[in-house]
């Protein structure tokens, strides 16, 4: 295994970490309209991710930065190619971060309601767009011999990628619902468990469809294994939440995300961004990567930093391990 292969795996790990963690953050954002009945319940939901959402989002920045360092051509083609969708994601992430921090800083009804609406939409839109983006990466987009994206925005809105967007939305919302069941107490917890049993099967059908389509179009033996793991884990997550085992259910919905994203990366390898125009124009781990020297330095950095990050981020979840209910939210 050469260093650029190692880095392909590490980039996959960073994206998996991002989707696992911000997946339930986005889900919680969507649930503010789907599950919460009043302001206090919305606040309960938001506060389950309050101390951690910012750290979760840094997984995205790390994925971006690491792609820049390890695969500059991939970074350049991807972000200049998907320019307008990425702009939309950035706008959402900007507004969303400010919404969390500023919502409670003024008592006015309008102020709070506007930021709450913002949290819903800026969680929902990126949850869809990331699925669309990854659907397109796997499917292949119009990349020319100079590694430039030459398609249009409309080219990105194909059925396969759009289904991918629905799957990430459903999966993140389900993941968030299970997380809400795990982190809240009282009536809202009971409703979260019920909602998870409705969302679960819908997610399972969508995900199965998308993953089978992926397997049929791009898969091999390894991706089939990942597909089976993802689907079995999802079924398990639904069963566990039905049996009232929220911890197990959350772990299994997490495994679903890990396996599904891993499957997408497995179908890509050794490409990082295939061209739909000509196979010779694919961006691959070889032609898109940095020099072995840079990769070696980056490997040292990641090998030391990533386990440490997992350790202290894990510790944060332990510090804030207590469930939150409406009694924990002070009247503002």
């Amino acid at each position: 295994m050469e260093l650029h292969d190692v880095w392909f795996v590490l980039i996959a790990v960073l994206w998996i970490g991002y989707f696992f963690l911000e997946g339930f953050d986005f889900g919680i954002g969507v649930l503010t309209k789907l599950l919460a009945r009043d302001r206090k319940e919305r606040r309960v939901l938001i506060n389950t991710i309050g101390p951690v959402w910012d750290g979760n989002e840094v997984w995205l920045l790390s994925a971006g930065g690491a792609t820049f360092a390890a695969f500059p051509e991939w970074y350049a083609t991807l972000f200049s190619g998907f320019y307008l969708p990425l702009l939309l994601i950035l706008v959402c992430l900007i507004v969303r971060g400010v919404a969390f921090e500023y919502r409670a800083k003024r008592p006015e009804e309008n102020w709070q309601r506007n930021w709450e609406n913002a949290i819903f939409w800026t969680s929902l839109i990126p949850a869809v767009l990331w699925g669309v983006a990854f659907g397109n990466i796997v499917r292949g987009v119009k990349i020319d011999a100079q590694m430039e994206y030459v398609g249009s925005v409309a080219d990105l809105l194909n059925p396969y990628a759009l289904l991918g967007g629905l799957v990430t939305l459903a999966l993140f919302t389900f993941h968030g619902t299970v997380f809400a069941g795990l982190k809240t107490v009282g009536e809202i917890r009971a409703r979260a468990r019920k909602l998870a049993l409705v969302l679960g099967p819908v997610t399972a059908v969508l995900a199965l469809g998308f993953l089978l389509w992926t397997q049929y179009g791009h898969g091999d033996g390894a991706s089939l294994v990942a597909l089976i793991v993802a689907v079995v884990a999802l079924v398990g997550a639904i069963g566990a939440i039905g049996a009232g085992r929220e911890g197990w259910s959350f772990m299994l919905s997490g495994v679903t995300i890990v396996a599904a994203v891993a499957m997408l990366f497995l179908t890509l390898f050794p490409n990082v961004m295939p061209s739909s125009l000509n196979e010779a124009w694919n961006l691959t781990v070889t032609n898109a990567s940095s020099t072995p020297y840079t990769l070696k330095i980056m490997t040292w950095c990641a090998a030391i930093a990533t386990p440490l990050v997992m350790l202290y981020q894990g510790w944060t979840y332990w510090v804030f391990r207590k469930r939150i209910g409406t009694q924990h939210i002070a009247d503002a």
Binding site: N47, V98, Q327
Partner: protein, 538 residues
């Protein structure tokens, strides 16, 4: 209007432009007709404006974040060590303003991480092997640190024992400083590329010595200068707000402490900013003489060279029409020698043409000249006001007993021995301190505008031109859309943020509750508090 082809900085770039825009290839070097609107809306112009707007905006929040994190940590340390509640109130007050500010810094920073790929894809392809690494280091080491521990600090008041809670804000502070270091190492590489080679086959620059990138003198000097300037921002911010409350005789114990802390910060940071700035200036005279000649509007080399106080010139003709100068000072600033030779813009332009081929290697001279002066002027003014304040509010051993004030009194402002300033003049000082609280921030912005525009036409000095760095696949319309969206969004958020700041500044430090004074002894919170409302919630 006639525009010199050299305005494009490189012949291939000009050819590409004409090919893209007109569908034809130009036949020869020389003067071409090109109207101003075309030039103003050229993709590289728009991409530069967008980068300038988003980056200057982002950096409005950065220096305050860096300095307030450390100052808040200092105040919380005082609370933990002394148990004096005024320090806890001060921590909560400045901590709140810090959080309102850092929220904006964090979200506008996301754009920075992706903008290189979005708008500068040719730059990313060409230098990604070098430039990407410090950026990834920043995310993996500094951003994770900052973001995780800030969550712990915000929500941890009733979940962490006070020493661990204190450790969290120090972690945040370390994170902000590490972040500054990595991004400044990356920027310094653009100012003065080291530790790389050009691989002609691969068509890119490749890293050969990462240690050199991290430790070259440009990086160290820029880091030192930026960090000290950041503390000047935080110090002046504290002084201004403390002055606001003291003038109204409100929250006196907390604001007295804040005033002193702010004044000491301004004076120390101000001196260190000047020293590091002088050092950085001397390095720039070696590494980018054009930038420094532009900063002085020194058209032709001179020995000894004068420091320009005011200049009004003609860029096309290459000379000043009006110039007020201090003889010899520039020679000293550049080389520590009042008689040494300093090369001028015209000489360096000629030398660079010989080295890099035909082209115009001059940055925007008025922007460089005035940017340099605004940077120094606003910074020095703030330092002066701080130094005056520190003298006016000096402590016991320098002050006769009759003029000394207690913990809960507004300090007397004493200019000369034995007499305090009259209320009218004292009020004037508070007003000046309040209205100049953003001076160092203005200085910071102009410093960056100067150093980034002063490097033009290069994006990586001597290696890659800005016009060759832009994304070829991103259309004019796309950049126009994104620039408009960012500008509008940022403008709205600026209004929201400033109003929120003003609200919490006016509100003053919060009253403390029983729970504030009795932090938990166990990680995760004391079991007895299990059903209490959270100390902080969104």
């Amino acid at each position: 209007m006639l525009v010199n082809v050299n305005a494009f900085t490189s012949w291939p770039d000009f050819c590409r432009y004409v090919q893209d825009e007109r569908g034809e290839l130009p036949q020869h070097h020389g003067e071409v007709r090109r109207n101003d609107v075309d030039l103003a809306l050229a993709p590289e112009t728009l991409a530069r404006w967008q980068f300038g707007i988003t980056t200057v905006y982002h950096f409005l929040f950065v220096p305050l974040t860096i300095s307030l994190a450390a100052l808040t940590a200092g105040l919380e340390t005082a609370w933990v060590r002394t148990g004096n509640p005024k320090y806890l109130r001060a921590t909560k007050f400045w901590g709140k303003l810090f959080l309102i500010n850092i929220a904006m810094g964090v979200v506008t920073g996301i754009v920075q991480e992706f903008q290189f790929g979005m708008n500068w894809s040719d730059y990313s392809r060409f230098v990604g092997d070098i430039f990407g690494a410090p950026l990834a280091f920043e995310a993996l080491i500094a951003f994770f640190f900052e973001s995780t521990f800030i969550g712990l600090w915000i929500f941890g008041w009733d979940k962490l024992p006070k020493k661990i809670h204190l450790a969290c804000i120090w972690m945040v502070s370390i994170g902000t400083i590490l972040s500054a270091y990595f991004i400044l190492a990356a920027n310094s590489w653009m100012q003065h590329p080291v530790g790389y080679r050009i691989n002609k086959e691969a068509g890119r620059a490749e890293l050969t010595d990462f240690w050199a990138v991290l430790t070259q003198n440009t990086a160290l000097a820029q880091f030192f200068h930026t960090i000290t300037a950041a503390f000047l921002v935080g110090g002046a911010f504290m002084v201004g707000i403390a002055a606001f409350h003291l003038a109204r005789k409100k929250h006196i114990p907390v604001m007295r402490t804040s005033l002193r802390l702010g004044l000491v910060t301004v004076v120390i940071a101000g001196m260190l900013t000047a020293i590091s700035g002088d050092r950085l200036g001397k390095i720039m005279y070696q590494q980018q003489p054009m930038k420094m000649a532009a900063a002085e509007a020194l058209w032709d080399g001179q020995a000894p060279a004068p420091f320009s106080v005011f200049a009004y010139g003609d860029v096309d003709e290459g000379h000043n029409k009006v110039a007020i100068e201090i003889p010899g000072l520039l020679s000293f600033l550049a080389n520590d020698d009042f008689t040494s030779h300093v090369p001028g813009i015209n000489d360096i332009n000629k030398a660079e043409q010989e080295k890099y081929g035909p082209g115009d290697y001059r940055p925007n001279i008025p922007v460089a000249y005035w940017g340099f002066r605004w940077m120094i002027g606003f910074g020095m003014a703030s330092f002066g006001i701080g130094l005056l304040g520190l003298w006016l509010t000096r402590r016991k051993f320098l002050l006769p007993p009759a003029l000394r004030t207690g913990e809960d009194e507004v300090p007397n402002l004493v200019l000369f021995r034995n007499t305090a300033l009259s209320p009218k003049f004292a009020r004037l000082y508070w007003i000046v301190a309040l209205w100049t609280l953003l001076f160092p921030l203005i200085a910071n912005s102009w410093g960056w505008i100067f150093t980034e525009t002063g490097r033009q036409p290069w994006v990586v000095y001597g290696v890659l031109r800005t016009a060759d760095a832009v994304s070829p696949g991103v259309s004019q319309a796309e950049v126009l859309i994104s620039m408009t969206v960012f500008t509008l969004l940022y403008a709205i958020l600026a209004v929201v943020e400033v109003r929120l700041m003003v609200k919490y500044i006016k509100a003053g430090p919060p009253e403390l509750t029983e729970a504030d004074l009795n932090p938990p002894t166990r990680i995760g919170g004391d079991p007895a508090d299990a059903d209490r409302p959270m100390a902080f919630s969104y």
